[in-house]
Each structure stands twice: as structure tokens, then as C-alpha cells.
């Protein structure tokens, strides 16, 4: 991870000369290419379905998917077919899990970074927990928390926790040595070192963790719904599997992708506001 340290001034000075070159627009990508690729892809898809004689339960035609999506989104929310309540259940559970997991990650990562004893007690267990696939905990969570939201939120939170914890911890610990000298030279207190130096310096790393976390939150919510859900997009996916409604399943995939993408973009936008001092963020850094 290269984003964990407060930027050393000398490289920053060098970076300045390259920034905002013509390349930045190219890196961001031209929307025309994206749209063109989508059109070509959908056309090919339609051709395969029409001429490839693939059964609809294997690969639905794009138009059928579009119809299913349209129907699910426009029918009254009270209707059984509507996706909207499910979208809400999944997204809200994912967001609650995200808040819980990232909050715990930041607080615990901070405590580990600040206190040697806490660090030595907590960190081995956190890493031990991480090496186990957390999805495997779902049956146990069901026993403890039952079917429904608590299980979903907990699984999402568990998945979010680790990347945020690690990034918060390393971001707070790995502060450029000269900055620490500067603060010690001013006889700064521990609290001042934390609030004036370590916390803002760690924000870059924390956001990197949050960006990983927001995608994992959605993953956790959907997986929990497969196994322990009463509602949510994971549940309708299972339902569609029973009735061979593959078009409907595809529509849900699209919905999941869009909602994940929107959450990710919102996070990116808030990152830009919080870490205002890093010029024109590119994914490279």
C-alpha cells in the first residue's frame, strides 16, 4: 500500500510537475467508449440468444431482462413483483453493516495504534479472524441472531471491518518520521500528535479501506440473504432460481451492480471533500 504515509515533500514537489497533464482526462476514460462498448455487448448478446438457440433459462434475451427490470422498478412498491422494497432492505442492511464495521475498524485500529498493550492483545486475534472466511460464520450468526436484519448487518459489518481496521491502523502508525520529529520538537502532546498529525495523515489510508469496505458490505448483505434472509435482493434471486426466471435474476444483478456503484461513487466524492489537500485524485495514488 503506497498511500499510507504522509506525503514526503520532495516527491510531492516532483509529482506537481506531472499532475494535470493531458493524460488525466485519458485516464478517467471517455464515456463515449463505455457506451459504445455496452451497445456492442448487448447486440452480441441478442445475436447469441437469437441465433445460438440458447434456452431462455440459461441466457435470457437482453430485451427480456430490460422488461423484467422495468416491471420490477415501475410496479407499485406494495406489489409482490416490485424490486424496490428488496433494494431498500439490501442497501439499508449493507449501509448499516458498513457503518458498524467501519466504525469498529476505525476505533479499534486507532486504539491499536495508540496503545501498545491493546495492540498486542487485539491484533493477533483480528488477523486470526481475518484468515477465516467470514461467510462461513453465517449459519452460526443465524443461530445467534435469527433470520433477518441482525444477521445481514453483522455479516456485512464483519466483512467491512478488516480492510478498514488494517488501513486505519497502518495509516495512523506509518507517519513520516520527520513529521514526528517536527511535532516532538514543538513538545506536542500525544493527543496533539493524534489530532493534528496522525488522524489527518491517516485519512488517505482510511478512505482506501472504506472503498474496499463499501463493496464488501453489499456482498455480505446479499450472501446473508441467501441463507438467512426474509427479504432483500438475495431473497428474490433465490426465488427466481426456483421458478427459472433467469431474466429476473439478471435484472437483479444489474440492480446490485448499480447500487454498489452508486455507493462507491458517493464515497469517492466525500473522499475528495475530506482529503482536499491531495490534488486531482487519480486511481494511481
Amino acid at each position: 500500500m503506497t498511500t499510507l504515509q504522509a506525503p514526503a515533500p520532495a516527491p510531492a514537489a516532483r509529482r506537481r510537475t506531472v499532475r494535470r497533464s493531458a493524460g488525466s482526462a485519458r485516464r478517467r476514460g471517455d464515456p463515449r467508449y463505455v457506451i459504445a462498448a455496452a451497445v456492442v455487448f448487448v447486440l452480441l448478446w441478442q445475436l447469441v440468444v437469437v441465433f445460438g438457440s440458447v434456452p431462455g433459462y440459461m441466457l435470457p434475451a437482453p430485451m427480456d431482462v430490460a422488461k423484467a427490470l422495468w416491471h420490477g422498478m415501475t410496479v407499485a412498491p406494495s406489489d409482490r413483483d416490485s424490486y424496490l422494497p428488496h433494494l431498500w432492505h439490501t442497501t439499508s442492511a449493507a449501509l448499516a453493516g458498513f457503518a458498524l464495521g467501519s466504525g469498529a475498524g476505525i476505533v479499534l485500529g486507532g486504539l491499536c495504534a495508540m496503545n501498545r498493550v491493546v495492540n498486542q492483545v487485539v491484533r493477533p486475534y483480528v488477523f486470526g479472524l481475518q484468515s477465516m472466511p467470514k461467510v462461513a460464520l453465517t449459519p452460526l450468526l443465524m443461530v445467534w441472531l435469527g433470520f433477518g436484519n441482525p444477521t445481514k448487518i453483522t455479516l456485512a459489518a464483519l466483512l467491512v471491518f478488516f480492510p478498514v481496521f488494517v488501513n486505519a491502523y497502518t495509516g495512523l502508525v506509518n507517519v513520516d518520521d520527520t513529521y514526528l520529529r517536527l511535532f516532538r520538537g514543538m513538545s506536542a502532546s500525544r493527543w496533539q500528535m493524534l489530532s493534528q498529525l496522525r488522524l489527518p495523515a491517516a485519512m488517505v489510508a482510511v478512505f482506501a479501506g472504506l472503498e474496499m469496505g463499501i463493496v464488501r458490505a453489499q456482498l455480505g448483505a446479499v450472501v446473508a440473504e441467501f441463507l438467512a434472509g426474509q427479504n432483500g435482493l438475495g431473497i428474490i434471486l433465490i426465488r427466481f432460481q426456483y421458478v427459472n426466471d433467469t431474466a429476473g435474476a439478471f435484472a437483479v444483478f444489474i440492480l446490485l451492480a448499480i447500487s454498489s456503484f452508486v455507493l462507491y461513487r458517493v464515497l469517492k466524492a466525500s473522499r475528495k471533500r475530506v482529503i482536499f489537500w491531495i490534488p486531482s485524485h487519480t486511481d494511481k495514488r
Binding site: A12, A13, T178, R181, G185, M186, S187, Q196, L197, P279
Partner: protein, 284 residues
């Protein structure tokens, strides 16, 4: 230090070296324990810096000059020996010592004014007077109009000017500078040297400047302390009695060239040992 900065501008020549020197190093020794045994970075270094005197420390890399400066700053401990600043035994970082590091170490999320005010903020001494002082310093280092700029919007030279203003905020009696222009390109460095000479005429402090640039040392200093490679010892202290204020044309005088040659010869007599320039080792 309450004496008005402005009254010192017109004072010709070097200041009188009266009374207790501002900074005294006595037999400062620093050893490091490493896997290969004990390394002596500094061996019995004694030097004094008079009030409002500009002293440079030159030596090959690895001679412990940065370690010496960090010990003066109270950021590292001496294994033996003592540091006195303003007549008091110094045991740790203190308010009346300003430090300029090789890199500007500006907080990237604070603008120029906030960065200059940082020592006051950390020392809980923010006040309207402090803000006025910061503003004056920003003007003095030539950054008027850039108060609201973030560090990444400034050039390397401007960043280091900000760092210098920050080090002067609390009116320290002593200014410690660790190769402050080492990371700048040659032309910027030359300009910054003249700027520093001018700043020092306005804000007279006892200065210790660590550098490996001989002409920089001669141009700025009243005295040059030449050090030998590890174990770092003082080879000789050379007095530079060129007229003040120093002007760019001073570099063309025979006196200037004599002093440069003198320092260079001394360094040649004590070359760095090959393989002994591992910076990390003595910074640790």
C-alpha cells in the same frame, strides 16, 4: 527575545559577541549499538555559538553532523556530554529553539498561514499578536499573498521559506538548520542562500547550519566548524570575517575564495571512509 527586529537591520558588521554564548556543546559523544558492535557517531564535540552568531557545520556525509544538530534540538540524546542553551542545561525539545529540516515538513492539509502558526497552536499560544507575527514573517520570507495556499501549490523553495517562517514564529534564540536547501536545485539554492542571509539580518538568531555545501557555509557564516568522518570530531573552526550584510558579489572576492579553499583542503585531509556513508544508521 523582545528586541525589535527592525532595529537590528541597520547594524553594520557582525554583532558583538558579548556575554554568555547562546549555545554551548560540551564534550558531546554519541554512540549507537548495532549488530556489528558499538558505532561512535560523535566523539567529544565541543563548540559554542555566540549570541546572534551564524555557525555552519560542514563535514562528509556520515560524520554525525545531523546527529549533532538533533542532539542540540533535544530530539536525540547524547551518550555523554551536555548542551546548554541560553545558560540552561538542555534536556529535551524547547520553545526557544527553532528547527528547519532538510525537507519542509509542512502539513499538507494546512495552508501557509496555518503552517506558520503551527508552533503557536501546538504550544497553545495562538493570539492576535501571534497572527500578526506570522503575517510579518510570511511577508519577510517573500510569501505575501500566498497565505491561503496549500503546500502542494507551492514550489520547493516556497515550501522551505514557509518552514523557515514557521521556525521563527516563537522568536527562538537559536535556529537549527539541517541542510535546509539540500533538496533544492542549484539555482533555487543559491537564491535561497541570499534570502537566508537577508532574513538573518532581520531576525538575528544564533544559527547552527548543517551543510555539505562549502560556499553556502562561507557565504552565510561567522564561523565554520569542520568535522571529520566517523567518529565525528571537530577538525578545525574557521572564522569568516567577511563584511556584513553579505551580498551576492561577495563570492567574487579573494577572501571568499580563500575561505572556501581552506575548508575544502581541510575536508580533503579527512575524507569519508568508503562504505561508511549509510545515512540511516546515524539518523536512527
Amino acid at each position: 527575545m523582545v528586541n525589535s527586529a527592525k532595529s537590528t537591520i541597520s547594524r553594520p558588521g557582525a554583532p558583538p559577541d558579548a556575554g554568555e554564548p547562546t549555545l554551548v556543546c560540551e564534550q558531546v559523544t554519541r554512540t549507537f549499538e548495532s549488530k556489528r558492535g558499538t558505532v561512535t557517531a560523535l566523539d567529544g564535540v565541543s563548540m559554542t555559538v555566540g549570541r546572534e552568531r551564524f555557525v555552519s557545520v560542514v563535514g562528509p556525509s556520515g560524520c554525525g553532523k545531523t546527529t549533532l544538530l538533533m542532539i542540540m534540538a533535544g530530539l536525540e540524546r547524547a551518550s555523554r556530554g551536555s548542551i546548554r542553551i541560553g545558560g540552561q542545561e538542555s534536556t529535551g525539545p524547547r520553545d526557544d529553539v527553532g528547527i528547519v529540516f532538510q525537507s519542509p515538513v509542512l502539513l499538507p492539509w494546512k495552508n501557509v498561514l496555518q503552517n506558520v502558526l503551527l508552533p503557536a497552536k501546538i504550544g497553545k499560544r495562538l493570539s492576535p499578536e501571534m497572527r500578526e507575527r506570522a503575517q510579518e514573517l510570511i511577508e519577510m520570507v517573500g510569501l505575501a499573498g500566498f497565505e491561503k495556499y496549500l503546500p502542494h501549490e507551492l514550489s520547493g523553495g516556497m515550501q522551505q521559506r514557509t518552514a523557515i517562517a514557521r521556525s521563527l514564529l516563537l522568536r527562538p534564540s537559536t535556529l537549527l538548520m539541517d541542510e535546509p536547501f539540500g533538496a533544492l536545485d542549484a539555482m533555487t539554492r543559491e537564491r535561497m542562500n541570499m534570502e537566508l542571509a537577508r532574513i538573518w539580518e532581520v531576525e538575528r538568531k544564533a544559527v547552527v547550519l548543517v551543510t555539505h555545501d562549502i560556499s553556502e557555509a562561507v557565504l552565510l557564516s561567522d564561523q565554520i566548524v569542520v568535522m571529520s568522518p566517523r567518529p565525528g570530531r571537530i577538525v578545525k573552526t574557521i572564522t569568516v570575517d567577511l563584511d556584513r550584510p553579505r551580498t551576492p558579489s561577495v563570492v567574487d572576492t579573494a577572501d571568499f575564495r580563500d575561505r572556501v579553499a581552506q575548508v575544502r583542503d581541510l575536508l580533503k585531509e579527512h575524507p569519508a571512509e568508503p562504505g561508511r556513508t549509510d545515512k540511516k544508521e546515524y539518523l536512527r
